[in-house]
């Protein structure tokens, strides 16, 4: 199985090399996209095979100068192959449906490299290969983010993203250097044999959180994500949100659960829980305020990554407190949510891409009423929106329910400070879940319900074929994952054993239980109950309704009839994206997102209209774009002064450097 996956990575790279040729014709582009969709299917198969079969290792016949590159497929990497596979499969299908002619090679070539980078990161069994895959993933996705570089905002997003990618790679390289095994060996077996302790472990954790955490979108290093994810083509956005963030979380999990050894103290989990809770709230709140559909979805990704990070942190803390059964519950929540999020978030991004293609806009204020023109997209998106809002019996509910169960059991860790922190995290996670539900209602309602806000939205067209399949596959998976979390947890059993050292929480075909004698969740029973209740209501309504349904005009909320030059109604009579978000912006936005609202009243007698201006900005981005460039400029100005040195001072500089080096040498020899 591992050999197959390694060959798959090679095949993807070959596909990238052939991309300039394939991009010349529609058939070639279709072949490439079909190849990536097939790669997604193979990754899924590889993941399932890796979870069922025994762990395998593979030493490649080539590698860095100091040794061969090593690959391995163990349960943890096999599990994370599943979300990557789901996202890749759907995105590949969507891109296949979107090919209508020759493509720009710039848009086509980095795409297989991006997928291969994620695959190599998951399979890596030594530090160098891990970094290689991670950086290939970063750079290829940067090229895709920058593909539409004619627009200034995309250039800015790409620049910011590249800066974060460089910083992340550097932090990961430093983390690997700090955790190097005997003699600086970087293969995972050597790293496991020399687990770090105390201050060194804290430094490695901080570096991993800065490196992989920023790539996953953990606050406060999340600011690039709402800019970069929407800038990429829709199928790439889907994979970036659905899969790349999971690969980053995999790197975090690989470090904290595996490479740093099993004997880590309780507090190691605290930073993950705190950052996760902060990301969840910030992401969900921003999702309620953004007015661009894809940006909204990217913010929702931050929220979900935060929830997964809380799960991972709880598992780490429970393991440190010697509560393996609870650690398994928390880890199960995190792993399950990673998979569920990959399915429903890919679906949402693809639906947003379909809307962009059909109705010509990403802005919520230019859409509306699309359920009539794009029914398949609307219903598929409804499934994903329900899952993202954690409605039973869809997939998001099962994993978030498990997460809350784990959070509610956090009092069993004896430390009082940890208990208080976990209680606060529980409140924040619940708040984030509720905010996410509100954001999803807003997204779906504004895009698909109501009346069209522009003529373009009224004339939207749905594409069929592979793009439709790309929406239906993840929708079916979201329903299936929601109804059958038990079998999924059974499949995840080896990965949970690796993380928590304990078997998966009690589960079966029909139910999931947090602990022996604790709360249980029967998803299929809940689904039947809901279906029964819905059928009852429908039946009652039908029974009481008069015969023969007449379709009337949409109620105009009491406004006067629109003038004839506004055939789709007065836009002001429908809620706008900003108006929908206003209560939350006033309630939470002022403190968390520096939201402001300013009313400009003209002087009495002035015929100008009164203006209301409202907006918000992320304080993290302001902090990043404020002092950081200032420091950089100050350093550059200091370095600039070196150019003004005289000949003697230049000579003196090199002389001083030589003497310093010699003194250092003498000092090292003396020791």
């Amino acid at each position: 199985m591992l050999t197959m996956l390694a060959l798959l990575a090679g095949a993807l790279l070959a596909l990238a090399a052939a991309a300039p040729l394939l991009a010349r014709s529609a058939a070639g582009s279709r072949a490439l996209q079909a190849g990536t969709a097939g790669a997604g299917l193979l990754m899924l198969a590889g993941g399932v095979g890796g979870l069922i079969g025994a762990p395998a290792t593979l030493t490649l016949p080539f590698g860095p100068p100091w040794g061969p590159a090593r690959l391995a497929l163990d349960p943890l990497s096999a599990w994370f192959l599943l979300p990557v596979g789901v996202a890749t499969l759907s995105a590949g299908l969507f891109a296949l449906g979107g090919v209508h002619g020759p493509e720009a090679p710039r848009r086509l070539a980095p795409w297989p490299v991006f997928l291969a980078g994620m695959l190599v990161t998951l399979l890596a069994a030594d530090g160098f290969t891990l970094l290689l895959g991670f950086e290939a993933m970063s750079l290829a996705s940067w090229a895709l983010v920058a593909h539409d570089h004619a627009q200034a905002e995309n250039r800015r997003a790409a620049r910011l993203y590249l800066g974060f990618a460089g910083m992340g790679g550097l932090a990961l390289a430093l983390a690997l250097g700090l955790s190097g095994g005997a003699g600086g060996a970087l293969d995972f077996a050597a790293l496991r044999a020399a687990p770090p302790e105390g201050l060194r472990a804290a430094a490695i954790l901080a570096l991993v959180l800065a490196g992989a955490g920023s790539k996953a979108g953990l606050a406060p290093l999340h600011v690039w994500l709402p800019l970069a994810h929407p800038a990429a083509p829709s199928h790439v956005s889907a994979v970036m949100s659905g899969a790349m963030t999971k690969v980053a979380l995999y790197v975090v999990a690989r470090f904290v659960f595996d490479l740093m050894g099993p004997a880590q103290p309780v507090w190691m989990g605290a930073p993950l829980i705190a950052l996760g809770a902060a990301s969840a709230v910030i992401g969900a709140l921003r999702a309620n305020l953004e007015e661009d559909g894809k940006t909204l979805l990217a913010c929702s990704t931050i929220e979900n990554v935060g929830l997964i990070a809380i799960g991972l942190g709880l598992a780490l803390a429970f393991r440190g407190a010697d509560l393996p059964a609870l650690a398994a519950v928390a880890a199960a929540a995190a792993l399950l949510h990673a998979l569920n999020h990959a399915a429903f978030k890919s679906l949402l991004f693809l639906a947003a891409g379909e809307v962009l293609h059909g109705a010509g806009s990403r802005r919520l204020d230019r859409l509306g009423g699309l359920i009539h023109r794009m029914p398949v997209t609307a219903w598929a998106a409804l499934v994903a929106v329900g899952a993202a809002a954690a409605l039973p019996p869809l997939s998001g509910f099962a994993s978030e329910w498990l997460l809350l169960q784990a959070l509610l059991a956090a009092w069993r860790v004896g430390d009082l400070a940890f208990q208080i922190g976990a209680a606060a995290a529980t409140a924040l996670a619940a708040l984030a879940t509720a905010l996410a539900a509100a954001a999803m209602v807003r997204f779906w309602g504004l895009v698909f319900l109501g009346r069209p806000r522009t003529p373009r939205a009224a004339g939207a067209e749905e594409t069929g074929g592979a793009a439709r399949a790309a929406l239906l596959v993840p929708a079916a998976l979201t329903i299936a994952f929601g109804l059958l979390p038990g079998p999924l947890l059974d499949l995840a059993e080896p990965a949970l054993r690796l993380i928590a050292g304990a078997p998966a929480p009690r589960s079966g075909l029909l139910l999931v239980g947090a602990a022996e004698g604790g709360a249980r969740y029967w998803p299929i029973l809940v689904a039947l109950l809901l279906a029964g209740a819905t059928a009852l209501v429908l039946w009652q309504v039908r029974r009481r309704a008069p015969a023969g349904v007449a379709r009337g005009p949409a109620w105009d909320c009491g406004f006067i009839a629109p003038p004839s030059h506004l055939p789709f109604g007065d836009p002001a009579t429908q809620p706008s994206a900003a108006g929908f978000g206003q209560p939350l912006r006033r309630m939470l936005g002022t403190s968390l997102l520096a939201a402001r609202e300013q009313v400009t009243m003209p002087a009495p007698g002035d015929p100008r209209a009164a203006r209301i201006e409202a907006g918000f900005h992320d304080p993290a981005l302001a902090a990043l774009e404020g002092p950081l460039p200032r420091w950089r400029d100050a350093v550059a100005a200091q370095a600039e002064r070196l150019r003004d040195l005289s000949i003697r001072q230049c000579l003196g500089l090199s002389f001083g450097a030589v003497v310093l080096m010699l003194a250092l040498l003498a000092w090292m020899e003396a020791r």
């Binding site: 150019r643 003004d644 005289s646 000949i647 003697r648 000579l651 003196g652 002389f655 030589v658 003497v659 010699l662 003194a663 040498l665 003498a666 020899e669 003396a670």
Partner: protein, 222 residues
């Protein structure tokens, strides 16, 4: 071969004398005396190379010695004296660092090079070790001279004296191919020629050899 035996003692004496001349270069204020000290250093270097050729039984080193004597001991000093006469330079040299502090710095540099070389070359022959330490000191003193003098001519002499240190290191190590020494010497000779041309140009344009005057004429920043 160790302390108390004639080959060792003579080699040590000659290398030490080269180092001593480096100090002389460092404290001389008059340009004529600086050039004479440099000529003496070149001659002593040639003697050291010839002696090494004798005790190592390497006839190639005699060629090195001859080249060093002709170039460093005779031709370059004559050329430098000619430049001084033709340009009618001030006979005193302005120093950027006082004589006392530069001598103290020089002693510190010698101590540093001994501290660096002796532990690093454990296991090598005693002669080669001390030779390397002295050669490194000569190199560092040459650099020190380049940065403590304001006069372009003194800076060129500092560079040439630095090169003397390199040749001293090369001849002290048995088995160093001749081509390395020759190419190093040729390189530094070329640099010296270029520097001489520049000195003439600077003098023609600015009527001084003080490199401070160059700083006022840089194209940017000021």
């Amino acid at each position: 071969m160790s302390f108390g035996q004639l080959p060792y003692d003579v080699a040590h004496l000659l290398a030490g004398a080269v180092l001593l001349l480096s100090f002389v270069l460092l404290y001389q204020r008059r340009i004529g005396a600086v050039i004479s000290a440099f000529a003496t250093q070149g001659t002593l270097l040639a003697l050291a190379a010839a002696w090494q050729g004798h005790i190592q039984g390497a006839p190639g080193l005699y060629v090195t010695a001859l080249l060093a004597f002709v170039a460093k001991g005779v031709l370059i000093p004559i050329a430098l004296h000619a430049i001084v006469r033709r340009l009618d330079l001030h006979r005193t040299v302005e120093t950027a660092l006082g004589i006392g502090p530069s001598l103290v710095a020089g002693v510190a540099l010698v101590a540093l090079s001994i501290l660096v070389v002796l532990p690093a070359t454990e296991g090598a022959r005693a002669l080669a070790r001390e030779d390397l330490a002295i050669a490194l000191s000569v190199v560092l003193l040459g650099m020190l001279m380049m940065i403590t003098r304001r006069n372009a001519l003194s800076q060129v002499i500092g560079l040439l004296s630095l090169e003397n240190g390199l040749i001293l290191a090369a001849v002290g190590v048995a088995g160093m191919p001749l081509v390395v020494e020759l190419s190093t010497a040729a390189l530094v000779l070329m640099v010296a020629v270029v520097a001489g041309v520049f000195a003439f140009q600077i003098r023609e344009r600015f009527d001084t050899l003080d490199t401070r005057s160059l700083e006022e004429h840089r194209g940017e920043g000021r």
